[in-house]
Symmetry: C2
Subunit: 541 residues, 2 copies
Amino acid sequence: GGFEPLPVAPPASFKPLPDAFQPLLQPQQAPPPSTFQPPGAGFPYGGGALQPSPQQLYGGYQASQGSDDDWDDEWDDSSTVADEPGALGSGAYPDLDGSSSAGVGAAGRYRLSTRSDLSLGSRGGSVPPQHHPSGAKSSATVSRNLNRFSTFVKSGGEAFVLGEASGFVKDGDKLCVVLGPYGPEWQENPYPFQCTIDDPTKQTKFKGMKSYISYKLVPTHTQVPVHRRYKHFDWLYARLAEKFPVISVPHLPEKQATGRFEEDFISKRRKGLIWWMNHMASHPVLAQCDVFQHFLTCPSSTDEKAWKQGKRKAEKDEMVGANFFLTLSTPPAAALDLQEVESKIDGFKCFTKKMDDSALQLNHTANEFARKQVTGFKKEYQKVGQSFRGLSQAFELDQQAFSVGLNQAIAFTGDAYDAIGELFAEQPRQDLDPVMDLLALYQGHLANFPDIIHVQKGALTKVKESRRHVEEGKMEVQKADGIQDRCNTISFATLAEIHHFHQIRVRDFKSQMQHFLQQQIIFFQKVTQKLEEALHKYDSV
Amino acid sequence: GGFEPLPVAPPASFKPLPDAFQPLLQPQQAPPPSTFQPPGAGFPYGGGALQPSPQQLYGGYQASQGSDDDWDDEWDDSSTVADEPGALGSGAYPDLDGSSSAGVGAAGRYRLSTRSDLSLGSRGGSVPPQHHPSGAKSSATVSRNLNRFSTFVKSGGEAFVLGEASGFVKDGDKLCVVLGPYGPEWQENPYPFQCTIDDPTKQTKFKGMKSYISYKLVPTHTQVPVHRRYKHFDWLYARLAEKFPVISVPHLPEKQATGRFEEDFISKRRKGLIWWMNHMASHPVLAQCDVFQHFLTCPSSTDEKAWKQGKRKAEKDEMVGANFFLTLSTPPAAALDLQEVESKIDGFKCFTKKMDDSALQLNHTANEFARKQVTGFKKEYQKVGQSFRGLSQAFELDQQAFSVGLNQAIAFTGDAYDAIGELFAEQPRQDLDPVMDLLALYQGHLANFPDIIHVQKGALTKVKESRRHVEEGKMEVQKADGIQDRCNTISFATLAEIHHFHQIRVRDFKSQMQHFLQQQIIFFQKVTQKLEEALHKYDSV
C-alpha cells in the first residue's frame, strides 16, 4: 500500500493552530498536543472557551492521501480516529444535576457538548505538510483555517488578481454570475436535480476483516442508483473545497470515534448526508461541477475502471484555486462600486458573526432542552404517574364495590402520565434533533465564510495598493485596471455566494421552523389525547 | 380580659408527645421542646422522619379558651402563632438544585415542604392542661392524639360502654344509623344544603388596632348571609371535635405565621374553608347538629345577644363525649357479628395507612411537579424562546428584503415559547393546587381515624373482658349483655362513619381527578394554540 504517514513535526513555515482547533483525540501520526497550544489563541469566529467554533461542532475537513492505491484499504473511515471510548466522557459543560447517564443516541447528543468533543476528536486534527496554492498537483488537501493571513495566497486569489493565473477555460467550464433583483447571483442550474440517500448497508471485504457502510444514492436526473461510502463523500468534499476558493462547500457530518456500526449513528449520519446532498444539489456551481457529477453517476461497483479514471481526473484538475477564478464569467460591462462592495461584505461579516453566536446559543439551548425532556421532564411526569398509581393501589384496599371504577380510572390516569413522560423523552428526535442538524450544517457554512471574505478583502487591498502604486508612478494604469477587473470578478463571485447563502438560509430555516412547530403541535396533541382518554375513564365511575 | 395562660409544665399524668408531633415553633406558653422529645417515638400513622403526619400537613386542632370575655380580642388568629419569618426557611427536604427562591404563593407552596413546616409551627403546639372525658364543663378542648392509650377513656367511650353515661336524649337529638346496601350508614340528612363562602373582607376594630378577615357565608337552606371569622370556624371545630368521638370532623385549613392579609393567603384560606364547609354539609350528623346550624344561621353582627346565647349553649352542651353515644340510635334488633366488625375495622385501618402513605407521596410529587413547572419548565421554554429571538435578531442584520417575513415569524415563535413558559408557571394553580387541597383535607380525616378506631377497639376489648368475667363468675350476664349492646352501638356508628368516609372519598377524588385532567387538557390545548399561531406566521414567508 502507498500510504504515507504525515510527518511528525510541522514544517518550519508552519503556524501554530489556534487553541479552539486543537483536537482532543490525536490521530497516531499527529504531533503531541503540547507543541500546538499557544495560550490565548482563539478561533477568530465565536470566541470564549465555552463556545466551540462551528468547525468544532460540525467538523472541519480531512486531509487525505489522493493516490489510488490506498483507496479501498488503509484509507478507511476509522483510520484517523482514535478508538478510546474514555475520550467521550469529558464535556465542556459540567453536568450539574448528575444525570449524565441519561443521554440518548450514539453520538452523545443531549450530553452537554459531547457532540463538539467528538468533532474535535475526529476532524481538524490532521495537518497537511505543504501548501499548494494552485492545488492542481497537490496530493494533499489544504486546511483553510490553518493560517488566516495566507488564505488569500493559498486560495490562489492573489495569483489571480495579480494576473499570474493562466489556464485554458473550456466553454463548458464557465461559471456565470448574473445580476438578479438583489444583486449578483450564480446563474441558476438549468438542470436542477435532487438526490436520495437510502439503504445504509454494512459491507465486508477481505473475508470480513474490513467492514464499512455503503449508502445508496439515487439522483433524480439519472434515476440510476450508485453506492458510496462515507470516505467517498470525504474525498469529494476535499476536491471541492480545494477547487472553489469563494464557494462555501457544505461540511460533511462529523466523524465518530466509536459505534460506527450502531443503528443510531448510521441513521444520524444518513440524515447528515441527506442535508449535505441537499445543499450540494442546491448550489448552482457545486451541483454542476464534473467531480460531483462523476460521484453521482459513475457506477463504481460495476465499472471500477471508469470510477478510477474520473477520480484521477478530478485529482489532476487544473482549474482549481487561482485557475478557478479564470472560469468565472461576470455580467458584461458591469463594474461594482468598490466601497459599496466593501460595505456589503462588512455587513455580511457582522451578520455571520451574529448568526454564528445565535446558532451556537440555539444549539446549546436545544441540546439542553432535549436533555431536560429526556431526563427531567420524563421523570416528573412519570413520578406523577407513579403517585397516581400508588393512590389507586391504596384505594384498591378499600373493600368497597362502589369505588372499583374510580380505582381503575386513577390507575389508567397514572399510566397516561407514564406514557406522557415517554412522549417527552421521545420528542427531541422529532423536532429538536433536526433543528440541531440544520444548525450544524449552517455552522459549517459560517465557518467557511471568513476565508471567503478574506480572499475578497485581499483582492480589494490589492486594488488599493495598485492605485497607490499608479499614483506613485510605480505601476502602469493598464496593469492596475487589470487588477481592478479581476478584483471585480472576485467581488461578483463573493456577492453571488453570499446571496446564495441567504437564499438557502431563508428556505431552510423557514421549512425547519415549520417542521419543528408542526412536530411540537403533534406532540402536544398526543399528550392532550392521552389525557382525554384518561378523563373519559371517569365517565362511568 | 379573661385570658388564662396555659401552665408552663405539664401535669404529672402527662405523657410525652411523639416525635413527629413536636412543633418547630413553640408558642410562648408551651414547655421547651427538649422535655418533649423521647427518641424513637413516632406518630403511629405514617412513620419516618421524612414523612410528616397528616396532622402536621394539614394541622391538628387548636386549644382555645371558651369564655366569652376573650372572644373578640386576645383570642385572635395570630395569638398562638410565632411571627418569626426565619422559621420558614428550613425544609424537611434539602433543595438540591438551589432554586428555593422561586416558589409561589404566600403559603410557601412548591418550596419543598415548607407547607408542612408551617403546619408544624402553627398547629399542634398547644397542650391542654387537663382532660375532661365528658367534655361538658371543659373550658379547654382536648388534643385527641395526646395519649393514644387513654383515647377510649377520654372520648367517653369507656364510660358509655360500661353504662356509666346518663343524660336525657331529646327526640330531636337522636342520631340514626341505618342499614344500607353496604352495611351501616348514617341516616341521610332530610334537608340537605350547601353553603357558599365569599367576599373575604378586611375589618378593623378598636380604631384600627385590630384587623381581621370576615367571610360571607350563605347557606342554601336559609339564603341569609352571615359573616364569620376564622376564629369562629376554629371555635366551631373545637365544639364538634369534642362532641363527636366517632365522627371525623374535617380539619380547618392551616394557620399561617405571616402574611395573614395577603391576597394569596386569603384566597387559599377561602378555598380551604369552602372545602371544609363542603365536608361539613355533606356529613349527615355534622350538618344537622345544633352548634353548626347556630354558626350558619345566627346573625352575629346584628344580634350579638342571640349569638352569645347560642355560643354559651354549645359550650355547655351535655350531650358530648360519653353522652353523645346515648344519642345514637341503631337499627332495631340488629346485632353485628363481633368478628366481622373487627375484621372490617382492621381492613379499614390497613386502608387508611396505605391511603395516608400514598396521599403523602402524591402530595410531595404534586408539590415538586408544581415547583418544577414554576421554575425549571418555565425556564426551559423561555430559554428556547430567547434563543429563537436571538436567531431572529441575527437574521435582521442580513439586509435581505426577502427574509423579513421569516425574521418576524421566528421572533413571533420566540414570543410564543415565552408565553408557553408562562403558561407552565401559571398552571399549577389551576390543577395541582386543588389536588393538594383535597389531599390535605383527606390527610386530616386520616389523622382522625386512629382515635375513632381506638374507641371502637376499646369497646370491643370491654366486651371480651366482660365475657371472660362472666365465665369466671365475676360479672352478671345481664351487665355483660348491656356492654355488648353498647359496643354494638359504637360499632354501628364507626362503620357508618367509615362508610361515609368512603362515599365522600369516591365522590371527591372522582370530581377532583376530572377537574385536574380537564385543566391539564385545557392547558395543553392552550400550548398547542400558541404553537399553531406561530406556525401560521410562516405561511406568508
